[in-house]
Symmetry: C2
Subunit: 267 residues, 2 copies
């Protein structure tokens, strides 16, 4: 409840008595924006050494220096869940990246399709968004935002044993009348094709699934050839997200939340 | 699959042979932005008469006129789920409203607490966002965005029989290590206090719950008095959304998705 509220991701090693020199941008944020002065403490993490309380020993316009005092949290790791998405309009991609980090995606893999304009994605900006989100949400890691690659290439090199849950937009569009509601357990892997597998995974005796990924199509949807190629892959499991047509980023966030609640670290 | 892609919310009655005159703003959108010309068809809905295919008969700078031809979808209604939230920063509120409509909230109730700046919320703008989202997602209704009221007043007048699921941010913050994962069914109503009820609601024999609402606290959190007051109410059911600290809008979207998947119209 008490203690320092500011969390910063740094690249340096962290450990007892370790000195950390901040880059000018972070030093400015700490001193001029957050008004921290020598003697104040902040939390640092680097994705490898856990989270550390560090005391500000020196701060001026050009930089800031801190001294690690105590580990406040061991190094953690997110559940083994990837998110595959096509770059969206700028502010929607930023939102998607931020939310995916908060919701605990381990890797973000932007992909290129025939209908995707990959030049939309500025990797440096999205990686900065991922860092900010990790700082804010309390994660001790920063999910990777991978360099965009063609969808076909990602699928051709797909790792053995990792399920790919495909949020198939063709399953939406019935309009969202409440009269279509039903009771019981809903699971992200229950498409009409694999109801049995889905039911199995929902049972109280079900263990955690292995590595997984969620796939959200581009804004214009996949074309027929891409859809057929996806549907034919043995590790692909299509599923729906209700009767309304969700924007790509909404579908991504909903699917991440459902997976975390069922299989991830929200228990 | 084929047919008109443009959907517009109108205020006028809709029915066979009914003429509809668009306001200048919508007429401009239809003619100048979307380049529709007389003879083209669009979809119209008004929240009461279902969705109609209408043909553009007349369009110029000052207005546009359409003729309803056929009902394409009966009037629907969202599941009986409200969302209570404290106004956020401008772009985050806009996002929250848009996503809540897509995810099928029936009413959006902004509330004021000691730590909430209610002047942030511009109702006209948020109502326009709700309409846009309804047009986009295929709903035949537009969820109400209510006038902000003090939290205490909303709770004092709470309708009998409606459960209020409180996304209690005090349950997050453990850091999100994957080692805390567990298997089994996760449900939005499973706080430590009511595991039994939660388990009951998840079972395959569970029917739909009655009317429900989701409550997301303000960005600064509730203060101690507000928390105690909430916890004491018999219709309030606190629940957590995993170990990471979610932003208010992230928590709202995740909770809506979980509820829809379990109790709503995502079956």
């Amino acid at each position: 409840m008490s203690g320092p509220r500011i969390r910063l991701h740094v690249e340096q090693p962290l450990g007892t008595g370790q000195a950390v020199v901040l880059a000018p941008g972070q030093a400015h944020y700490l001193g001029s924006v957050m008004r921290q002065v020598p003697g104040d403490t902040v939390l640092l993490f680097n994705g490898a050494d856990g989270e550390w309380r560090a005391r500000l020993t020196h701060a001026n316009r050009r930089g800031a220096r801190l001294l690690c005092e105590e580990q406040t949290r061991p190094q953690g790791a997110p559940p083994d869940l990837w998110l595959l998405f096509a770059p969206l309009r700028r502010e929607r991609t930023a939102f998607l990246v931020e939310k995916a980090v908060e919701l605990g995606a381990a890797r973000l893999l932007p992909f290129i399709t025939r209908r995707t304009n990959a030049e939309r994605l500025r990797l440096d900006r999205e990686r900065a968004h991922a860092i900010e989100a990790a700082e804010q949400c309390g994660a001790t890691w920063v999910p990777e935002v991978a360099t965009p690659r063609p969808m076909a290439q990602i699928l051709a090199e797909w790792p053995h044993g990792r399920q790919l849950f495909w949020a198939d937009e063709a399953r939406a569009g019935a309009g969202g009348d409440a009269s279509t509601s039903a009771d019981g357990c809903r699971r992200p892997d229950t498409g009409p094709e694999e109801g049995a597998a889905g039911r199995e995974a929902c049972g109280p005796g079900s263990g955690r699934p292995g590595p997984a990924a969620i796939l959200i199509g581009p804004e214009g949807g996949f074309d027929a050839g891409e859809r057929a190629a996806l549907a034919a892959l043995p590790f692909v499991r299509p599923f729906g997200l209700g009767p309304r047509i969700l924007r790509a980023e909404t579908a991504a966030l909903a699917a991440l939340a459902l997976w975390q609640a069922r299989f991830g670290d929200w228990a």
